[in-house]
Symmetry: C2
């Protein structure tokens, strides 16, 4: 891929000027079109040291409206990011719909530097990441700025002679320069492995800065044109047939517990979880607990008992409702990436990313292809958390339709519980069967070995609380022993 | 204040239990009421080491819905926060309307540790901060957990004997213990100076943990009750009479510049600003540039020329529109605190916090008392930035009503400019006189010596761009020489 590049490519000053002026107008127009279409644009710049990345970014931005782009520098690693999965820093800085995010340094640093053993998996994670983005309508552009070893040496020497630039060439740069051939092989491998039809690499011969600037601008214009005409491929969800089983139907809702037994187990388990909270801190294990369940299934009370014994510095509860503001103008997983626990902390999600295949499906808030694709995206998202060392526990608190009715009526009749019941609860209840099918499908499609669903028998709240506490304790213990 | 506390106050186990159960129900009910009323609640815990802050927070939270509170730990200083004004960390973690934010360690650390010279100003900043919060409807509760020197020594010794707790008592704790008397004086002074009618300190005798827990809960319940009945005082804006002057009327809109002169000055100033961008980095000077102006006054084009020569890693442009999502459920200044530049960086606000006294006033989006109070709040906000070392430049780009009409018509007739003109622009234009009065008042009330308005003669865009660039360069140079 890189060896076939014509590094002698160049362009005269005059030809450049006239082409450039036209291109600038085109790019400014495209930026507005992209904003109106609400497409996020992600532009990655990678390349050799001294290949001119900084200048190229400035040149590319010159015709654009600065209110619509942001440049992110990922050349150095932020120590904070080490407490999160590798893709975290990039997810949380993704541009909003209609905006342009430029990544000076990117998730490819990891690909270029990974050891032989882990490389394939890193490539895979990158492909998944970029596929998730482009599937949601984002445009991903990746430029590799290429210069020869000889050219790099000449540029370093020239910089060293200029007092204003000399400090920029460090000892490490020459060391890396001496490994040019070995690094070239790595880069070749990584670019090949991550050049996909939805997000191909564009290698830019960069000996001539004018030529490089023009090529980058032209490639960007062409890509934005294609995206606006929806010529960019999206993955069609391929869902295997569902087995003819009824996970919810198998739940034994008669399970219950006596008061004495409950009180004893509760305080014992709360103490145990508190000790586990302390013990995840040093090994920096993140713990993610997802609560899903029917309205009035007792999620709130269950969560309250789960955190009651914990040190408040170690956990956070995130209530999840309809997305608002920035959440609405980003990928649907973005807000959950933003709320992931830092290593050593516990985050409880009261409702979660599963809204995509539950409420968004049943209420038809999301096109079918999008929520169908979500099963795989969610499996991938959860897999990334687990690979990064997280404990992930997912609860579906199950109650019978009769039990729900009983609780709704009770709430209506108890003054201090009336706030808990709204019109919306009754509307949701009317769609019980549709939700039932959606929950069953969710469980079947997203229960994986490393991230299984725990269906909690919820007709009796005491039983449900003890089961949740116990499940979380065991999951953390299993992870610590690993 | 602290010496008169009855440190022997205690309560029996039985009395505690029955009082506590009732209080828990009351607090849970109040939490919901506060959520429904959309009031943010801010609770500060400060006190002596080993006074039981951690336990008290856990006890206070026990009856509450964990989905509605967050605990923030500010016992240690985050190094990142040193690149921002002292109040930044606290502003950006403020709870949303209806939520509870608990601060374990707070902005008072600075008050307790400030040297004699700076203390008064720190107190003043804290009073302003809390006044701004309570004026916007927030409830601020501050607990000082008090124990005697003797009690502290006993607790340290007891902890040292317990293998599970021994590590918690550090050498520094004993050193601080030995300075108890000196520190007590400091604390007394700080608490007295920052106990206001809108946010009084509550000193809690903490020798008996049960007594302390009950008192904290009761104080909180009483305070929330008062807030819900709006018995908390808000500042009435006191606006001095406006002088009979017309700042906008004095602007000479005939000022203009020749093409040659413009081009020469433009590239010279862009280079100068680029050099200044480099030179603010090491001394970590933040630069804040505010653009306000009439529709079609040329803000966008002006900003574009201002940043054209800059290194993209050093600046950011923030377009400001109507608040969305989280921005809507926080204090109106919150989103601007969130976007402040880190020391060494430049942030350009395309429209700003002045929306409070312009569009929100004219369009009646905000009650009169609130936007009238904003003049002082904004002066205080800007003063905080400047005290923390920032450069602050504020532009009002002025054009005549005729010039605006000409530009609107031009935009409608030029195909590639039509996107720039909407119905809203015409609607705003119809209110020209109201905006004119609001702008004049804004300039008169918020032009201070350290943060003056620069009214830019905008009928000719070249002239306006050069003036803006020049003003920014000079402001940075003046700051660097300081």
């Amino acid at each position: 891929m890189l060896e076939s590049l014509d590094l002698d490519a160049k362009i005269s000053k005059e030809a450049y000027r006239s082409a450039r002026d036209e291109l600038d107008i085109r790019l400014a127009t495209l930026q507005r079109a992209v904003r109106d279409a609400g497409k996020p644009v992600i532009i990655v710049f990678e390349g050799w040291e001294a290949s001119g990345i900084g200048t190229s970014i400035s040149r590319l931005l010159a015709p654009l409206d600065p209110r619509g782009y942001k440049v992110h520098n990922f050349v150095k690693i932020d120590p904070e990011s080490l407490y999160y999965p590798p893709m975290w820093s990039y997810w949380v800085t993704l541009p909003a719909n209609g905006e342009i995010g430029i990544f000076d340094g990117s998730w490819y640093r990891r690909a270029f530097e990974a050891g032989r053993g882990g490389r394939e998996r890193v490539y895979e994670q990158i492909r998944l990441f970029e596929r998730q983005l482009t599937d949601s309508g984002a445009v991903v552009l990746k430029f590799w700025m290429h210069i020869s070893k000889k050219e790099q040496a000449q540029r370093f020497k020239k910089m060293e002679k200029d007092p204003a630039q000399a400090w920029m060439v460090k000892k490490g740069d020459w060391q890396r320069h001496n490994q040019y051939e070995r690094r070239l092989k790595r880069v070749e491998e990584a670019l090949t492995a991550t050049s996909t039809d939805y997000s191909p690499w564009i290698a830019i011969p960069s000996h001539d800065a004018r030529y490089a600037a023009l090529r980058i601008g032209e490639e960007m214009a062409a890509r934005l044109d294609a995206a606006l005409e929806s010529r960019v491929k999206r993955t069609t969800p391929r869902l295997p047939a569902l087995p003819k089983v009824d996970p919810l139907g198998r739940v034994d809702l008669r399970l219950s517990m006596e008061a004495d037994d409950y009180q004893k187990k509760l305080s014992k388990l709360q103490k145990r979880l508190f000790e586990l909270e302390l013990s995840i801190y040093v090994p920096r294990i993140p713990v993610i607990i997802v609560y899903e369940g029917w309205d009035a299934s007792g999620k709130g009370g269950n969560i309250k008992r789960l955190v009651a014994g914990l040190d408040h510095r170690g956990f956070e509860v995130i209530p999840v409702g309809a997305p608002l503001g920035e959440e609405k103008t980003h990928h649907y997983l973005w807000r959950f990436w933003k709320h992931l626990p830092k290593g050593g902390h516990i985050t409880l999600f009261d409702r979660s990313w599963y809204g995509r295949v539950l409420v968004e499906r049943v209420e038809k808030l999301t096109p079918e292809a999008d929520w169908q694709r979500a099963y795989e995206e969610i499996r991938e998202f959860e897999c990334e958390q687990i690979e990064a060392g997280a404990v992930l526990v997912k609860f579906w608190i199950h109650i019978s339709k009769d039990e729900q009715l009983k609780r709704f009526q009770q709430r209506e009749q108890t003054p201090h519980k009336q706030w808990k019941i709204t019109e919306e609860d009754w509307r949701n209840r009317a769609k019980w069967d549709q939700y039932y099918a959606a929950v069953n499908e969710m469980i079947l499609r997203t229960s994986t070995e490393s991230a299984p669903w725990t269906v909690v028998e919820g007709n009796q709240k005491w039983y449900a609380r003890i089961k949740a506490l116990q499940t979380v304790c065991e999951a953390i213990e299993k992870r610590i022993k690993r």
